[in-house]
Subunit: 449 residues, 2 copies
């Protein structure tokens, strides 16, 4: 039995409703992987346990990256200033011809290092060779929900192979591999997976108890194209194929129409949406996730970065800030998406998007000890009239000092303990050119939603 | 004579037109306050001089914060989730009743520390008690252009005092105080300064060779209100009062109409606009600066943070990124506001907004040695397919390692050399409550544009 105490720390408290607050001078008691108590400093028995001094620091629930493609850090900065069509068709999908298990593992290791050092303790991933991502996550100490990506057809010959069945098998295997790893089903999108294959996915999901993580209604253009070609919105496709009934994490959803909200409301208990707004601005997608409408429909929303091939970072602090800013902009209402609501999305909302609403996202007894200790004493955060404002609008990823996942200290004094940071970076740097090589020709898919 | 060499550094080269590039393995030769040569490493005589090892670092022209109110760091996080009306009328202008020379100096010191540590070597300021800001800037080693703020009327009794004449005197005095300090005239805005007082300002500016730094057309609502009340846009006000003829730095300009562009084009050689988009989203202002139109009119645009009472940081890297993202969004064009164009705004554009187009903003012989050395080797920037992309989309202020202003090393290995960082923070923290105290009643001004 491992017992630990984070002593004399400020604690961000995020209630289900109402204002967040920061409680001063608290002790967080941890046994094994769980928080067992949070008490005023000095109250409660300490006994023999490792003590982390939290003086001057703020404890927040470890951040959750609720939608990403972690190995795409290998393409960071290699596809800039492009339309969404060119980004997919001239860069990313031709580059992904180069994916190998090794290159995916190397990318995922780098991604895990970047995220842990920034206080991200869980990521919700959607990518190829997901077993390699699991290996990197397990090694690094991070928590992950992994969805092996599949298309209905790919640019590669898949004759005679049941690519989808194989992806289902990986989901099943990954769900049993490690306590910190969960798995979901990963059809790419409503425009790259047929209705039949979505039905098959939904059936498998219901039979075996998995969630479905996929892209849908990413832009309003996609929604309009779906209406023009099929007479239904992407959300209607998700309903008629049983995906919503099985339970879905929808990435982006910027093209969700008013009329879709009534549908989503019927499945609100098992539907979540991940919002990654830096990407929507960068790709000039025209819309951001309609969080206000989703909230009215009772659908929980989380915050993510998407892949670094477009977001350029896996910095969830940046994503949180972008959600607050773009939501105020979208609603023409500076009083909307308050500090408290933003922090609630980033914690409870993202935990729900990870399928872990009951075990992470909040600092309270019985929850997993996934904790980031943040130093708000730098000149860029001071004076600290409101630590909640600092956490949304001025904190930097580099302010994260110490990080625990499932009670294990993975970052201490800004040093990654589980992997050799320099070796991880060097390995990625060495292989990076192989990922962006376009000389092979071909593409894993074509974007024409 | 002080001679210095930054050895074996990568150098960001920002041409007037076309693509930026990063030259590897360069030496930057510095004598006194100027760059004298940039050569391939090892070429050129070294002689006896201090050597800074630039291996693994990228040298960029020190960043310029082209519009801010530096002492407002004292109100960081104290006015959140408010409409622009409430932000001004219920928080900021009532709080500014509490301004004293000492509090302004303490705030400016903190602001200078924050900016220098982030690689910001020049700031363009607009605030009260500007002589205190000058003192802080001189002490810290930063470069600044300072505009003493004035209104035509204030909430304070100003009977018998020539507030505006006094502000002019401060501008005149500050312009002579130190080689790193320049000064401008600081009427607050077209909606808080009468046409007569703007004319008086323009006359003084022309007579004594000063620029005019002011807020105008901040939102389209302001433009519409001006049209409704006076039959002219704020830009037309600037023209008819002679402000444009004298030469103006216009803060924000989000409400500049298509019809205003033809006016601005006539004064393009002496007009600049500062864009601070994080603020426009946070206050739900509805628009961002129309940079595409301004560029067509030949008006140079710089990038700024505005005050930290709304931007929450003085982080110009963040402001640069927000300009790229919001401009792509505004124009519905992901291919617009490219990496190169963004970096050009951040360097040449902001230098012009500071009134220093010929002496800062570019690393080349004859320019001031204002340089930030940036470490792009962290996991969040790697692999580095394109360092320009890293500088716009993934760099953090904490990646700035070493900073020079006018040939003086002011930050080395992330440590501020000119001031005691902890003492600066502690002093600000101690006084912070006095700034946000609303018990006095009153306000320095009322927002009703």
């Amino acid at each position: 039995m491992t017992r630990m105490l984070i002593r004399n720390v400020s604690v961000l408290v995020v209630p289900e409703h109402g204002d967040c607050r920061v409680d001063q001078a608290q002790d967080i008691h941890i046994t094994n992987d769980q928080i067992t108590a949070i008490t005023p400093t000095g109250v409660g028995e300490v006994g023999e346990r490792e003590v982390i001094d939290g003086t001057g620091l703020v404890a927040v629930a470890g951040l959750v990256n609720s939608h990403t493609h972690s190995p795409m850090v290998m393409m960071r900065g290699a596809a800039e200033d492009l339309s969404i069509e060119d980004w997919f068709n001239r860069r990313i999908w031709p580059m992904e011809v180069n994916l190998t298990p090794e290159r995916v593992r190397v990318g995922a290791r780098l991604a895990c290092a970047e995220m842990l050092l920034a206080g991200v303790t869980t990521f919700v991933d959607h990518y190829f060779h997901a077993e390699q991502i699991a290996a990197a996550a397990i090694e690094s100490g991070i928590r992950a929900d992994l969805a092996p990506t599949f298309f209905s057809s790919t640019g590669h010959s898949t004759a005679g192979q049941d690519v989808i069945g194989a992806a289902f098998d990986v989901t099943r295997e990954l769900s049993r591999v490690h306590p910190r790893i969960s798995a979901s089903l990963g059809p790419h999108a409503t425009y790259t997976v047929t209705d039949d294959d979505l039905r098959r996915t939904a059936d498998f999901a219901r039979d075996e108890g998995f969630r479905i993580h996929l892209h849908a209604a990413e832009t309003d253009d996609q929604t309009q194209a779906s209406l023009d070609r099929h007479g239904v919105t992407p959300i209607q496709v998700l309903e008629r194929t049983g995906v919503l009934d099985a339970g879905a994490l929808i990435a982006h959803g910027c093209g969700i129409r008013e009329s879709d909200l009534a549908i989503l409301e019927r499945y609100a208990d098992r539907t979540t949406v991940a919002s990654c707004p830096k990407v929507y601005l960068k790709l000039a997608m025209g819309e951001v996730t309609p969080i206000k409408g989703l909230r009215s429909a009772g659908v929980r929303v989380g915050i993510g970065t998407d892949g670094a091939a477009v977001h350029n970072t896996l910095d969830v602090w940046e994503a949180i800030r972008m959600v607050a800013l773009t939501q105020k902009q979208r609603e023409h209402d500076a009083e909307w998406m308050t500090l408290s609501d933003t922090l609630r999305l980033a914690t409870r909302g993202s935990a729900a998007a990870a399928g872990l609403a009951d075990s992470i996202g909040v600092l309270e007894p019985g929850r997993q000890a996934d904790i980031a200790l943040v130093d708000l004493n730098g000149p860029h955060n001071q004076p600290l009239h409101d630590p909640r404002a600092a956490l949304v609008y001025s904190v930097r990823a580099s302010d994260v000092v110490t990080v625990l996942v499932a009670g294990q200290v993975v970052v201490r004094d800004r040093q990654l303990l589980t992997m050799d940071r320099d070796e991880v970076v060097a390995e990625a740097r060495e292989l990076a050119h192989t990922l962006v090589d376009l000389s092979q020709g071909g593409a894993v898919q074509h974007y024409a939603p």
